[in-house]
C-alpha cells in the first residue's frame, strides 16, 4: 500500500455527555477516492472538521500529509464544507482566485487558474457575474472549484452532491474522477450510496460516531450474503438441503402473483446451482432474480434500525 495521506488513531470527540465521534481508526492511501458514509448525524462532518483541525479531537491522534495538524499543510488541502456559503458581492472569477491566493497562489496564477477551471466546467459565461446572481446549484459548483483551485494534494468535500440536480451531479462526479486521475486524494462524505458506489475506491461507514466498516466497495459487498429471489407456488423447502444454500426465507415485503422467497447462497456457490435444482425438482418458477448486493443493501443491513433514528446535535 502507498504511504497514507491521512491516518486517524483512536480519534474521539465528545461534547459534554454526548459522544459525536467514538475512537475512529483510519488510513487513507494517496490518490484514492475515499467515501465517508453514514446516516445523518453519524459524525461525518465532525470527523472531517477534526481532520482539518477546525475543531480539536477530545482524544486520539491525527496525521495529515505527514503533519500533526492540517494547519501546517493547509496550502496542500482543499475543503468544501457542508454548509455552503460564498461572498455574495464578489465576482465568480475573483472569488475563485481569492481562495486560490489564500492558499498561496500568486495573483496572476490564481486568476489564470480561475478562468481555466470555469471554462473546463462550463461556467465561462458567468465568470464575471456576481455570486448573488447565481442559482444555488451553480454557486455550489463555484464553491467546489474554489476548493480545488490551488491543486491540493488532498481534497475534502463534505456532502458535495447535496442540492445538485442529476446533470450537475454528473459534472461533479467527473471532477472527482479528474482529481483522482491527477493523483490527488479525494475524501467526500455522502449518504447517497450510488455516488460512493460509482466513485469510491474505499469507504468508511460510520453510525452514531462509531466506525462499522472501512475497506473497498467490493469488500463491503461481501459483508452481506449474496441472494436469489424466487417466485413460485411450489414447495421450496428442499432447497435448504443444498450445500450452496445458506438459508431460505419468505420475502414478505416483496409482493408477487405467487409467494416470493429469498435464497441466500454460500461463499463460492454459483446461482446456477439453484436454477439447476429447480429444474431437476420441477419447481415452477415465475421469477428467478440474482443481483450483486448494492452498497445500499450493505448500508441498510449494517446501519439497520439506528439509521431511522436521526440524532441531532
Amino acid at each position: 500500500m502507498l504511504e497514507p495521506v491521512l491516518t486517524l488513531e483512536n480519534v474521539s470527540k465528545t461534547y459534554g455527555e454526548f459522544t459525536a465521534v467514538d475512537k475512529i481508526n483510519l488510513q487513507i492511501p494517496r490518490g484514492s477516492v475515499y467515501g465517508f458514509l453514514g446516516p445523518n448525524g453519524a459524525g461525518k462532518t465532525t470527523t472531517l472538521r477534526m481532520i482539518l483541525d477546525i475543531i480539536r479531537p477530545t482524544s486520539g491522534r491525527i496525521a495529515i500529509l505527514g503533519k500533526p495538524s492540517a494547519l501546517h499543510v493547509r496550502q496542500r488541502i482543499g475543503y468544501l464544507p457542508e454548509e455552503k456559503g460564498l461572498y455574495k458581492k464578489m465576482r465568480v472569477n475573483g472569488l475563485i482566485a481569492y481562495f486560490a491566493r489564500l492558499k498561496g497562489l500568486d495573483k496572476k496564477a490564481a486568476a489564470r487558474r480561475a478562468d481555466q477551471l470555469l471554462s473546463s466546467y462550463g461556467l465561462s459565461d458567468f465568470s464575471s457575474a456576481r455570486v448573488e446572481a447565481l442559482s444555488k446549484g451553480m454557486s455550489q459548483k463555484v464553491q467546489v472549484l474554489a476548493a480545488v483551485a490551488h491543486d491540493p494534494e488532498l481534497v475534502i468535500l463534505d456532502e458535495p452532491f447535496s442540492g445538485l440536480d442529476p446533470v450537475n451531479q454528473q459534472v461533479l462526479e467527473s471532477l472527482i474522477r479528474n482529481l483522482s486521475a491527477n493523483n490527488q486524494t479525494v475524501i467526500f462524505s455522502t449518504h447517497i450510496m450510488e455516488h460512493a458506489e460509482r466513485l469510491c475506491d474505499q469507504i468508511l461507514l460510520i453510525t452514531n460516531g462509531k466506525k462499522i466498516f472501512d475497506g473497498t466497495v467490493a469488500e463491503a459487498r461481501e459483508l452481506i450474503p449474496r441472494r436469489v429471489m424466487l417466485e413460485t407456488a411450489s414447495d421450496v423447502s428442499g432447497l435448504q438441503q443444498l450445500d450452496s444454500v445458506a438459508r431460505v426465507s419468505a420475502a414478505e415485503d416483496e409482493a408477487g402473483v405467487d409467494p416470493r422467497w429469498w435464497v441466500e447462497i454460500t461463499g463460492n456457490a454459483h446461482p446456477q446451482d439453484i436454477l439447476k435444482y429447480c429444474f431437476d425438482t420441477d419447481i415452477a418458477l415465475n421469477r428467478f432474480e440474482y443481483a450483486e448486493p448494492s452498497l445500499h443493501d450493505v448500508f441498510v443491513d449494517l446501519v439497520g434500525a439506528s439509521a431511522g433514528e436521526h440524532r441531532f446535535r
Binding site: L52, Y87, R101, L102
Partner: protein, 527 residues
Amino acid sequence: MTVIRLIAWREYMDNVRTRGFWIGILLIPVMLIGMYLVQSSLARTSPIRYYMLIDQSGDYRGAVDSAIELEYQRQVLQAFVNYLLDNRKERDLELTAVNATNAADQLVEDVGASDAAALSEWIDSGGLDFALTLTAPYLREDAPPFVSPRRSFIEAPLPDEVDTSAPPGRIVEQLRPYLRGDQDVTVNGVSGELFALILIPENVNQHILRPGVMPAEPGNRYAGVQYWGRNQADPRLSNAVERSINASIRNDEFARNGVSTTLINTIQRTRLPVAKLDPLANEGEEAVSMADTFRQYAPMMFVYFMFIALMQSVQYLLTNTIEEKSNRILEVLLASVTPNELLMGKMLGIGLGSLTTLAAWLLTLFLFLTLYDSAETNTLADIIGITLSSGLVPWFLFYCLAGYALYAGIFLAIGSLCNTLKEAQGLMVPVIVAMIIPITVTPFVVMDPNGSAFRAMSWFPLFTPYLMMNRAASNPPLIDVVGTTLVLVASIALVLWLSGRVFRQGLLRTGQPPRTLELLRMLTSRS
C-alpha cells in the same frame, strides 16, 4: 502576513463596494454642509415684519419708534461686525481687547465684550457713517461696499375705516381680518402679512405696577399695553416694545423724583472689564484670547471625532462578522486561514475602510473651507488650524488606534458568537455604555482635567483612549500618562488574545449566543 493582507484587502474592497460606504462618504458631509448653509442663510434673511401702532395715551409712540430704531441699529452693528470680520486686512484669533491695535479690531472686540455698551457707543458716536470712516483704512482694498441689512420691523398704516379713538375692543374687532392673516397690509406698494398690533389704551398709565402697590384692576387681562400677534415665537418686537416703554416710564419716574436721566444713562453704561489671564503664558501674552479658549477645548473636538470614527467602524465590524457567519463562509475560510489571521485581517481591512471615510470627510471639509469663503468658514478654518497646531495630533492618532484595536477585538468576538444583529444587541449594550460614559463626561473633563474622579476613570482601559485624549492638553501627571498607556496596551494584547479564542469557537457555533458560564469556559478552555 500575506494572508492577513489578502483578507484585509478583500474586506476593504467589499466595504467600498457597499452602498452604505458611499452614503457615509458623500451624504453625511453633504448633509452637514447643507444644514450649515441653510442655517446661515436663514439667519441672514429674516423676514420683514409689519406692525401697527395705536397709541391712545399719546405718551409712548416716541418710545416705541426709538425701540424699533434701536433694534435696527443692533442689526446694523452686528452686520457691520461680520463685514469687518470678512473684510479686515488681517484675521487673528490671538487678538484680545488688550492687544487690538486698530479701530476695526477694536470695534470687533468691543462688541464681543459687551454688546449693550457697544450699541449705545455706536449710536452716540454716529452709527454706521462714523464706523465706516473709522475702519476704512483697515479694510482690504478689494472689500465690497457695506450693505446695510434691510429693516425687519416696518410700521404699516392703519386702514381708513379704523377709528383710533374707539374703545380698544372695537379697534381689535375692526383689525381682526388683518390679525388673523385673512387680509394683507400694504406698505409702499408692497403687501405683506400683519405681524402684530401694538395697542396702547388711553388709560394705560393707571395700570403701571409699582412695588408694594395693589394693581388698579386685579384680574383684568387686558390691562396695560396690548400686543396682539399670532406669532409669539419671534419675541424681538414684543421685547423691544416692552423694554422701551418701561425705559420711558422709568425716565419719567426719575424726572418726577428729581433724578437726572442723563446721569442715569451714564451710570448704566459704567462698567469694569474683567481681564482673563493665563498664568502659564509668557509675560505680556497672559490675556486669554479666543485662540486660547479653543486650544483648551481642542481635545474635545478630538474626542468627539474619535467617537464617531470608532462607532462607525466597530459597528461595521460587528455586522460584517455576523453576516459572514450567517452566510456560512467562515468554515471555508477556516480551512485556509487561522482564526487569528482572520481576526487581524478583518480588523485591518475594516479599519482601513474607516480611515478612508474619515479622510474623505476631512478632504470635504478642507475643500468646503477653501472654496466657500465667509466669516464663518474662515473662523472655522482658524479654529481647526489652532486645533491641529496644538500638538495633540500624535496623541489623537495613538488613542484612536489603541481604541480601535481594543473595541474592534471586543466587537469581533461578539459578532462571532451571534447569528443575527438582534442576538448581538444584548451583548453589545455593556460595551456601548462603556463607550458612551466618557463621551458624556467630556465637557466636565475639560473644566477639571486632572480632577481625582477623572484621573481614576482614566485607568479603566475602555475609558482610557477617550479620557486621556480629553486630558491631553492640560499636562496630566506623568504617572497617569505612562501608567494608563501601559494598562491600555496590556489590555489590548489581552483582549485580542481572548477574542481570538472566542472568535475561534464562536465562528462555528450555531444557535443561541452563549450564556455567561459558557463564555467563561470558552475563554479558559484549551481548544
